[in-house]
């Protein structure tokens, strides 16, 4: 059957030419090869909020620059959500885009499926070293690079200065430990102040925001090819989130969509919100005068400060129309030592968005040009980012086991010890038959 599906696809490729007349867009009949780049920034209709426009412009300018210098053209295609059925369906049918954006959570699946083109051959060794290693690890396999991150997005706690003041809380009340976090939550509750917001919809994003708490204890979900989940660390990290929800310190459903920090803090629905560095740009455009601050994620007693580094990467489809050119494009765009390439990263991370630049050279250039002068950005760059570890690339089964443990503890009030054991067993059972890229 597998064979017939593939040959079905091949037969289809031949039949594609004629009905292109029927197709609404079939304009690429210029004879020259055109590579398609799926992302969720451009082209976007004119108008709209300034950050969206800037991000769209960055993409358009990049592609125009490439097209002016190269024989093989790139076309931008706007795709609503990349983690959606569209990308999955397209790849399952052998019709995946030539270049696309990939988040760490999906890396293992796409790498193991053999659709990621290696980028190292087109990179100078110096450039490979220029990317921050803790963030690069989840895009690398056997020392080879398969994706170039465009941004680094660390997590932290954002708080509203106004909400703190009206609850008669001082800066010294900001929590540095888990116990202080729970204490603060209690105070907020008894003073009828807005609560602390944690992401609460099940999904990759919730897991991502929980991992730092796990790592701070020294535990890990997967270690040396085995589950490290049935551990004291995992139990206490689960217990922390369980306590937050079960005692009402954090709401069960987000009072604002997607636990959005700007809407939550800005609308007076939260005093504190676990969120990422992108919140800085969102405040700048949506509530420029709002007074907020940021602190590193609280740590357990005796734990080490940790955060998780998110962000998307450019990847090239190894089964696309021209994988070599696609790979070269990714390197040209973000990963060459050429001045334009570095500047592009600086622009994306400090002008179009508010992110940590994924390359040492770009971060230095960004600092020099004032991109990290804002006190919050400075704190992120100097204090929070260095404690970061790349968002893990756990395969779906591992992700789901962890997600269920978090959800069961938080919402069903389940016993963290039992949930940690259950998830650990599920992960171990999966790992015994798992073959593929090292799980990080």
């Amino acid at each position: 059957m597998g064979v017939s599906r593939r040959s079905l696809f091949r037969a289809g490729a031949g039949a594609l030419a004629a009905p292109a007349l029927l197709s609404g867009c079939g304009s690429s009949v210029s004879g020259r090869k055109e590579l398609v780049f799926w992302q969720f920034y451009a082209p976007t209709p004119v108008g709209g909020s300034p950050d969206v426009v800037k991000q769209s412009q960055w993409f358009t300018r990049m592609v125009n620059d490439w097209n002016a210098q190269h024989e093989t053209k790139i076309r931008l295609e706007y795709v609503t959500v990349l983690g959606n059925p569209k990308l999955a369906t397209a790849f399952a049918a052998g019709e995946g885009p030539d270049i696309f954006l990939l988040s760490p959570g999906d890396f293992a699946r796409y790498y193991n499926g053999g659709v990621l083109a290696e980028l190292t051959p087109y990179m100078e060794p110096e450039a490979v070293k220029d990317f921050f290693a803790p963030n690069m690890a989840t895009r690398t396999a056997d020392g080879k690079v398969y994706g170039l991150p465009m941004e680094i997005e660390p997590l932290a706690m954002f708080y509203s200065e106004q909400a703190m003041e009206s609850a008669h809380l001082a800066e010294s009340d900001l929590p540095r430990t888990w116990d202080q976090l729970l204490d603060l939550g209690d105070k907020l509750r008894t003073r009828k102040a807005p609560p602390i917001m944690l992401p609460n919809l099940p999904g990759y994003y919730q897991n991502f925001t929980w991992y730092p708490f796990l790592w701070q204890t020294g535990a890990d979900a997967v270690r040396h090819g085995r589950s490290g989940f049935d551990s004291a660390g995992a139990r206490s990290a689960l217990q922390l989130w369980r306590d937050c929800i079960q005692t009402g310190i954090a709401p069960r459903t987000s009072p604002v969509p997607d636990s959005d920090a700007v809407a939550g803090l800005g609308g007076g629905y939260a005093t504190m919100s676990l969120s990422g560095i992108w919140t800085v740009a969102a405040f700048k455009y949506r509530k420029p005068k709002y007074r907020y601050g940021v602190i590193p994620l609280p740590t357990p007693a005796g734990g080490t400060p940790r955060t998780a580094l998110g962000g998307w990467a450019f990847v090239a489809n190894a089964r696309g129309r021209d994988p070599e050119t696609a790979a070269k494009f990714c390197v040209w765009a973000l990963g060459s030592m050429a001045k334009e390439s570095i500047q592009r990263v600086v622009d994306w991370c400090t002008v179009a968005k508010s992110d940590i630049a994924p390359r040492a050279s770009a971060l230095a250039a960004g600092r020099a040009s004032g991109g990290y002068d804002h006190p919050v950005m400075k704190k992120f760059a100097d204090e929070i980012f260095p404690t970061g570890r790349g968002e893990p690339r756990y395969p779906p089964v591992v992700y789901k086991a962890i997600s269920d443990a978090i959800q069961q503890c938080e919402f069903a009030g389940a016993d963290p010890a039992a949930q940690a054991r259950l998830a650990g067993d599920t992960i171990d059972a999966y790992l015994t038959s798992y073959r593929g890229v090292t799980i990080l």
Binding site: R5, L8, F9, A11, G12, A15, L16, A17, A18, P19, A20, L22, S23, G24, C25, G26, V36, W38, F40, P43, P45, V46, G47, G48, V52, E77, Y78, V79, T80, V81, N84, P85, K86, T89, A90, A92, A93, E95, P255, V256, P257, D258, D260, V262, A263, G267, Y269, A282
Partner: protein, 288 residues
């Protein structure tokens, strides 16, 4: 086919006990009023929210404190709405018309013509109703790809036409028609095509009206397939365009509600205008 505005047959069963029924009538009226208000309240809440400022959007007061059109103007400048509207209209209308035609033909054959394997074919057609769409999404995508109609109107439209529900309902309807009408026509020497065209189709008008509404709504509100099969934004349908907008502005309820209102207005508007016709045709179309 009763064309009056309320159901005549089952109305007011008791004439002598007028006083009692009237009192009961008022109770009914009150109960219906409360329920109806409750039923449309969430829609009204969406509408009200779409006129609110971001600070006001969570307020429990029924009306916006400072009504604004900003949300709408923002959504309309962000989303190429007229284009999406047109696309949705084309898709929904074409699917509806073609589907009604094909389904009534098939239903006529299944209800009226004698041929070997009729029951088997009917059961097979009916059983396609049981298939869940997400399960067949990937194979369907492959087929549409093989046909070379990915990212085209044809790719959205053609697979949406075939749906056993319409065939099933039309067959039930045709079974309930008196057989004598066509028998006479056949004895007169009419071919089956002419019987279908001259006798069956005109009789189908009420059930067509009802099905047309359902088909139109289903296609107007379709999301998953149109999103998967198209990539160029020129081909986006309303629901996909609105979803893309909401993706970007998920945090702003006021924008999301305005976008939702915009996507719901055409169907709600059509419904309000043709309410009586729609309700009557569904009611009298023999869905049973």
């Amino acid at each position: 086919m009763p064309a009056t505005d309320t159901s005549p047959a089952a109305d007011a069963p008791v004439r002598p006990a007028r006083a009692r029924t009237t009192r009961r009538g008022w109770v009914r009226f009150a109960v219906a009023l409360v329920l109806a208000v409750a039923a449309v309240f969430p829609l009204g809440w969406m509408l009200s929210g779409s006129f609110r400022t971001p600070d006001d959007v969570f307020s429990p007061s029924l009306l916006p404190a400072h009504p604004t059109l900003h949300n709408f103007s923002y959504v309309l400048t962000q989303v190429a709405f007229p284009r999406y509207l047109l696309n949705s209209l084309i898709v929904a209308v074409v699917v509806t018309v073609v589907a009604l035609f094909f389904h009534s033909m098939a239903a006529y054959a299944l209800a009226r013509l004698r041929f070997p394997g009729r029951d088997t074919i009917f059961v097979l057609i009916f059983s396609t109703l049981l298939i869940t769409f997400p399960v067949i999404l990937v194979p369907l995508f492959l087929i549409v790809h093989t046909l070379g109609i990915l990212d085209s109107y044809a790719g959205i439209i053609i697979p949406s036409i075939f749906n056993a529900f319409g065939i099933f309902l039309l067959r039930q309807f045709y079974l309930s028609l008196p057989r004598e009408l066509e028998e006479a026509a056949i004895v007169d020497g009419c071919g089956y095509w002419r019987v279908y065209w001259k006798v069956i189709l005109p009789l189908s008008r009420p059930v067509f009206a009802a099905l047309a509404v359902l088909f139109f709504l289903a296609n107007w509100n379709a999301f998953l397939w149109p999103m998967v099969v198209t990539t160029s934004t020129d081909l986006s349908l309303v629901q996909v365009g609105i979803a893309a907008f909401q993706q970007q502005h998920a945090a702003d309820w006021n924008f999301s509600l305005a976008a939702s209102t915009i996507s719901a207005l055409p169907t709600l508007g059509l419904f309000v205008i043709f309410q009586r016709r729609i309700v009557e045709s569904i009611k009298t179309s023999g869905f049973k």
